[in-house]
Amino acid sequence: MKEERNTMVANHKAGQIILNIVLAFMAFCCVMPFVLLVTSSFTDEKVLMRNGYAFLPAKFSLESYLYLFRQGARILNGYKITIMVTVIGTICNIFMTTLFAYPLSRKELPGRYQMSFFVFFTMLFNGGLVPSYMMWTQFFHIKNTLAALIIPSLMMNAFYIIMMRSYFTANIPDALVEAARIDGAGEYKILFRVVLPLSKPMVSTLGLMVGLGYWNDWQNGLYYLTDTSLFSIQNILNRMIADVQFITTSSGSVGNMSTSSIPSVGIRMAIAVIGVLPILCIYPLFQKSFVKGIVVGGVKG
């Protein structure tokens, strides 16, 4: 009997060790590519061209970053655009989403089911790229404006509205709203003074997810921008890799004419690092509320 138990405990320990090893391997696979990105941005350009990308820089160099620092106007401008778009877009999105979601959560509001369906239907059916592109460019003349990076698609979506509505429905007691009403508070006052302060965790989760969406967005820039002075960091990165591809596929004919205009590998990697660094730095701090957002919104929204 005792022996059996001992083997069970031993089995259990072995199981835990194997589990840890497998999961550690997966975690390693998730992070390892970023290490390659970072080390190649710190590698001497000539060594990089000769030996290729490697996890340990054969020759350490800060040249790429110094270059960025010296020639930084374009990158700095991209950074400015990215930050501006992320901040404005996230604030607008939170504002519009909560303003829309709160009435939907009030049981006494006539027509709230119809309104919910109005929102939900956009998740089932959509017009796709061509009509949207035509509308934004032909009617709203959004091409080459900052609004092109903020407004289309990203400013509000059904998924977040439903997520917020469910949160309000589950967490804001009717009695509380009723009490505030009896005290003579108007609906706006109730929302901003009573409901929102109670919903801080969910609002910050929403802000985090929306902010991440804006920071990482490159599609709006790809569709609506040709003016490089409005390029965000993601658009700059996108343009650079498109140029690289263009040259490698048509190498014979173009020759060295345009190779010089493209930043070297190390510099490209340095820009990519600068682009992801803020997210990777902030992420551990907000990991908890981020995970919560995934869990709440994940299955059904």
Partner: protein
């Protein structure tokens, strides 16, 4: 008595009036959102009619003439329609199958871990790829696959004396794209499943232990049944979106390389290229219409099936 009655009536009247005021205020809150959805989502739905027009930029949407089904004939006569449909369906099918398998496995493994600290650390790490834009992912993939100085050609394959020009060999791409997709999304999906696993009633496990079930049996008889409804919902959501592909994955990661297009083009990349690069609005809009309509039918069907199997998990 009569006085009392009229007082009562006055009270309800007053209450109604204030309620109306509230309702009005609540409606005004929704105005910006309604306007945004109308413009951003509903107008383009009507705009799908562009697929039946011969669109001319100089005339604009309303003045361009109708051409009936010409754009569709034009689209389905080419081999492209078949290729993009096939690619979209096969890739998404693979993603759903392998993605679910991997995510469920990881979720169960996370749950079986004893150490809370390890749980948290692993959760943090596996979400990292999800945070990164597809542009940066394409940089990373390029660092691995670039012909001259990519990590794989220079380190892993150099010992064997092989050098593969990845960006012109379509046969590798179904694997590459699947790996990239799984790498980027498995953490996110694992977290969703993990949240369900945590919610499983612990007394069920205790009962299983009393019945002499070992770990494997517990997973088989308690954990998996507990996950069933989440798995069904997630898979059907995936099936409902099987006609839509992740534009970034198929456009950025293969770096829009021409020789790969047979293996990597999906409906979304086709629409984009038709619209911007080839300037073929007719075919692009026909493909977009085809995607929206079949996509819609699939969502409805998927939901109908869920409702039949398990009403609680239906979306609507």
């Amino acid at each position: 008595m009569a006085k009392n009655k009229s007082l009562e009536a006055g009270k309800t009247k007053k209450k109604n009036k204030s309620l109306n005021k509230c309702t009005f205020a609540l409606y005004t809150m929704m105005i910006p959102g309604v306007l945004y959805l109308l413009i951003n989502n509903y107008i383009p739905m009507a705009g799908l009619l562009i697929a039946f027009k011969k669109f001319d930029y100089s005339l604009g949407f309303f003045k361009s003439g109708w051409v009936g089904l010409k754009n569709f004939q034009y689209l389905f006569q080419t081999k492209d329609a078949m290729i993009i449909t096939r690619n979209t369906l096969l890739y998404n099918g693979t993603f759903i199958l392998l993605g679910t398998l991997l995510a469920v496995t990881v979720a169960i493994m996370l749950n079986e871990l004893r150490s809370m600290k390890a749980k948290k650390i692993f959760q943090t790490f596996i979400l990292v790829p999800y945070l990164i834009s597809m542009v940066v992912v394409s940089y990373i993939v390029y660092a691995f696959l670039s012909q001259d100085n990519g990590f794989i050609n220079n380190t892993i394959l150099s010992g064997l004396g092989i050098r593969i020009n990845w960006y012109i060999e379509p046969k590798y791409w179904p694997f590459i794209l699947t790996i990239v997709y799984l790498w980027k999304t498995f953490g996110y999906n694992s977290i969703i499943y993990f949240a369900t696993v945590i919610g499983i009633d612990t007394t069920l496990y205790e009962a299983a232990v009393v019945d002499g079930a070992n770990k494997w049996k517990q997973i088989w008889h308690v954990t998996l049944p507990g996950l069933k409804s989440t798995i069904i919902t997630m898979v059907l959501l995936g099936v409902g979106r099987i006609f839509y592909s992740d534009f970034g994955l198929f456009y950025q990661v293969p770096m829009n390389s021409g020789p790969l297009s047979n293996a990597t083009s999906t409906i979304d990349t086709y629409v984009y290229k038709g619209l911007t690069i080839l300037n073929d609005v007719g075919r692009a809009s026909a493909a977009g219409f085809y995607q929206s309509l079949v996509g819609f039918a699939l969502v409805l069907t998927a939901n109908m099936i869920v409702r039949k199997i398990d009403n609680e998990n239906a979306l609507f």
